[in-house]
């Protein structure tokens, strides 16, 4: 069940399969939005995607691990405490994004602005692929493969920067041409607030990854001690989960006005 129970190639393969599922579901989501734009269906697809990421990439089940027998000052027990702390932080953060979604549905209702669909799908793909490599990085270090971990972390970081360039560098400029302007009306206000808040989290994730990558190069992590990597990975996947809901809310649900 857990990553540790699998040997390395099986764990990496699992990452590939989950990525394939997520890719297919994203394609399905896009197809649904074109052919059968039902918000409930889109929500179900998003929930399913988020569930996959949270279980297979973020390993939420690790929270239930029984480690009461371990000494309180051991690395493993402290990692358990850290993990709970991180998940509580994500729960707290989820309320921000939940409130932003509530704001979007309150102010936009069942409409959405005209945005560049190709670019939207492209940045979504980039983030999804980055999540795949993030999982690969964590799996690698969990099995003691430092080189694989460093390479995958570097790729994740580059994809994260690509996502930022895509959203802030391109989409924010293109949206202005579509009359989505920050201080003109709520169309602009909500769009820039949601993408901006998410991009801010991606940026902090990239910084976090950089620290992990640099410390990893100096040999800070091993198969037994890699909480820093796990934390960066769980945080990164969380940012991906947020986008799993933000993407349909911004690009797919509602009629274009």
């Amino acid at each position: 069940m857990t990553t540790h129970a699998l040997d390395k190639s099986a764990a990496l393969n699992q990452g590939v399969i989950i990525f394939a599922y997520l890719a297919i579901l994203t394609a399905l989501e896009f197809g649904l939005a074109v052919a059968l734009p039902n918000p409930i269906l889109l929500l179900l697809v998003a929930l399913f995607k988020a569930g996959l990421v949270m279980y297979y990439y973020m390993h939420i089940y690790k929270l239930a691990q029984q480690d009461e027998v371990l000494p309180r000052n051991s690395y493993a027990y402290k990692t358990g405490s850290n993990r709970l702390g991180l998940w509580l932080f994500l729960l707290s953060d989820a309320f921000v994004f939940g409130a932003l979604l509530a704001t979007r549905f309150n102010l936009w209702g069942m409409t959405r602005p005209h945005l560049n669909q190709t670019l939207g799908l492209a940045v979504t793909t980039v983030l999804l692929v980055s999540s795949f490599f993030m999982n690969r990085a964590e799996t690698s270090i969990a099995h003691g493969d430092r080189k694989g971990f460093l390479n995958a972390t570097l790729i994740t970081m580059i994809l994260g920067i690509a996502f930022l360039v895509g959203v802030v560098g391109l989409e924010w400029q293109l949206a202005q041409l579509e009359n989505v302007i920050v201080n003109k009306d709520v169309k602009g206000a909500v769009f820039y607030m949601m993408t901006g808040m998410h991009a801010f989290h991606v940026l902090t994730g990239v910084i976090f990854l950089f620290l992990v990558w640099r410390n990893g190069r100096r040999g800070a992590f091993s198969a037994e001690r890699y909480w820093g990597v796990e934390a960066a990975a769980v945080y990164w996947h969380f940012v991906d989960v947020v986008w799993i809901f933000f993407y349909p809310a911004l690009y797919l649900i509602g009629t274009v006005v």
């Binding site: 000494p71 509580l88 707290s92 932003l100 309150n106 920050v182 709520v186 206000a189 410390n215």
Partner: protein, 620 residues
């Protein structure tokens, strides 16, 4: 000079000012380059002040020393989670990682803010004593009234953090909180928060009341409003991170044998409080941030002219701010349930029900927010469901009252009554008034009349005094010997209690009376024809008497720190683990791990035990 700078707090404040100046200079430079107006009504534009505030906060945290441990970890260096504090009072100004030091830092900061907020109250209360304008301008009145609210709220949040930080690790037999560095960070981030909150005064003040509703708060007239939002936003992070730390501590650090239903009841209420603070606080942060952005960047979230919706702000705001009142009162009610059995020498009646009632209040609290909005013009079909969900809160609250009454029933009332016990009984009575004046505001038909009157002001002052202020003082009188090894003076304590309790009843009943007669809240002046001029004078006198009782408390505090009766033993004859070891508590709490072997509140049952101190194992 150099010695002064070596004090972490001073160093932090110096860098806060430098950061503020640098942030302002940066924005001024950019605006100058873009040929935008550089200067504003309050010296600089809003953008400059807000950005300066953000940079100042970060500079404070970076240079104060509270983040040094993290910086080392980020650099990949090894860093111990414990370090020795310097001797003497200087440790309270530095980034100590000891939960007891942090608890005292929180408590002292809370008391300082309590004084500031109380001073504001006295000022505008005096203005209200007589109709017509006395000595405040309407703008100054609004600022005093708004900041009284928000400063007191931040004070309460820090006060409960103080209680929780100091007590919970002791009560559960842990050496410290789960994340000591995060703990220190949560405290120190509240210092810049308080500074920004108070800086709003010279920058034009705040005119919206503590709720900061747009469209009024979105009018770009006063920079003070922005600093108010910034201060609350930063203080919110203190609350969120502290709550996170507390939950992990309780889940992961309990002594062996301490199952969920053998935890002290205060720990249950701390958990309930933290669940709210952890999650809901994000929404007040976000809603204030959105108003800030509306002012800074013209984003029209709450501006009807741009398709925005002011009611949306109220939903986001109250989603936190109603549960927040349970954040304020739950630890206080926990203190009452914790202390009562000790004083009356009887088991706490219905322990499990009381534990669950805290969680019940916290969870129901998430679905009641719109009862603040019955008159706001929100969809009418929302009214009745929110009315019923609000009335539901009375059920778990009632459970607590029954438990208290049944615990006192046939108990041994101590004689003479210690001050801590007086404050416990005072909390029950005052909170009863607060509780009973609640349902009329929850019921739509009566609330339409009571909304925004002084009745509401009377109601929530009763809940906050009964749910926080009285229990807070009870806790101070009760645990002061644990923290200092000395006891607060009982004679001054009794003066403090009787003066505060009696004047508070006069004040709050006066508030309810003028409210029912038609006095609106948040107004600067009133018509003498309404017939409550005398009541206002009486209320003002009562307010000053409360202030006098607080002065007595301070005299007591300062005197007892030096001359108080030395107490190192189990002063209250309590079963709780922290009283089984000598006061004051040593740096890493219990020298030997303790084991829980029985029920926490079996007072008066012969042969029952709660904790055992296991001999320290070799190499553990």
């Amino acid at each position: 000079m150099k010695q002064l700078y070596s004090i972490p707090l001073v160093r932090g404040l110096v860098w806060l000012v430098i950061g503020l100046a640098a942030g302002i200079a940066f924005v001024v430079g950019i605006r100058f380059a873009l040929e935008l107006p550089v200067m504003g009504r309050y010296l600089f534009t809003e953008h400059a002040w807000v950005f300066g505030g953000v940079v100042g906060t970060l500079a404070f945290l970076a240079k104060h020393g509270v983040m040094d441990g993290w910086f080392k970890v980020w650099k990949g260096e090894e860093e111990a989670e414990h370090h020795e504090d310097p001797e003497g009072w200087i440790k309270y100004l530095g980034p100590s990682l000891d939960h007891k030091v942090i608890g005292i830092q929180y408590t002292v900061t809370a008391i300082i803010l309590f004084l500031v907020g109380g001073l504001f109250a006295l000022i505008f209360r005096t203005e209200l004593a007589f109709e017509g304008q006395q000595f405040l301008t309407p703008d100054q009145y609004n600022t005093m009234m708004s900041l009284h609210g928000m400063v007191m709220i931040v004070s309460i949040l820090l006060g409960i953090s103080g209680l929780i930080n100091y007590l919970v690790p002791l009560l559960i037999g842990a050496p410290d909180m789960a994340f000591p560095r995060l703990n220190a960070f949560s405290y120190w981030i509240s210092v810049p928060a308080a500074i920004w909150l108070l800086l709003s005064m010279p920058l034009g003040g705040v005119e919206t009341g503590w709720t900061g509703y747009p469209p009024l708060s979105a009018l770009p007239t006063k920079v003070g409003q922005q600093m108010f939002f910034l201060g609350v936003f930063v203080a919110g992070w203190s609350s969120i991170l502290g709550a996170l730390n507390l939950i992990v501590t309780v889940v992961r650090m309990r002594a062996r044998g301490m199952t969920a239903f053998r935890m002290p009841i205060f720990v249950w209420s701390a958990i309930a409080t933290s669940l709210i603070a952890l999650t809901a606080t994000q929404l007040i942060g976000l809603s204030f941030q959105m108003v800030m952005f509306q002012r800074l960047f013209g984003m029209g979230f709450f501006d009807p002219a741009k398709g925005g919706n002011p009611i949306l702000f109220q939903h986001l705001f109250w989603f936190y701010s109603h549960p927040a009142v349970y954040v304020f009162i739950l630890p206080g009610l926990g203190v009452v349930s914790e202390l009562l059995p000790v004083f009356v020498r009887k088991p706490l009646f219905g322990y499990r029900w009381v534990a669950m009632s805290s969680l019940g209040i916290a969870l129901v609290g998430f679905i009641v927010w719109a009862h603040h909005m019955f008159t706001s013009g929100m969809n009418e079909y929302l009214r009745v469901p929110f009315m019923y969900s609000t009335l539901l809160v009375a059920v778990p609250t009632g459970v607590k009252f029954f438990s208290w009454v049944a615990t006192i029933w046939q108990g041994k009332i101590p004689s003479p009554m210690p001050t801590a016990f007086l404050f416990v009984v005072g909390s029950i009575l005052v909170f009863l008034m607060g509780g009973l004046s609640g349902p009329p505001n929850a019921i739509v038909t009566t609330d339409l009349h009571l909304h925004d009157t002084y009745w509401i002001v009377g109601h929530f002052h009763n809940t906050f005094f009964g749910g926080f202020v009285f229990p807070f003082f009870a806790a101070l009188y009760y645990w002061f010997p644990k923290a200092t090894g000395r006891r607060l003076d009982e004679r001054l304590g009794r003066w403090h209690f009787w003066l505060m309790a009696s004047s508070f009843f006069v004040l709050s009943l006066g508030m309810m009376r003028v409210g029912l007669l038609g006095m609106r809240r948040r107004i600067f002046d009133y018509d003498p024809e309404l017939g409550f001029q005398t009541t206002h004078i009486v209320m003002t006198v009562a307010a000053f008497l409360i202030a006098l009782s607080v002065v007595i408390f301070f005299v007591n505090l300062v005197r007892s720190l030096r001359y108080g009766e030395a107490v190192i033993g189990n002063l209250w004859n309590s079963r709780s683990p922290e009283w089984q070891v000598p006061s004051p508590m040593p740096a890493h709490n219990y020298s030997a791990p303790l084991v829980v072997v029985g029920e926490p509140y079996d007072y008066g049952l012969p042969g029952s035990r709660y904790v055992d101190f296991a001999p320290a194992k070799v190499g553990d």
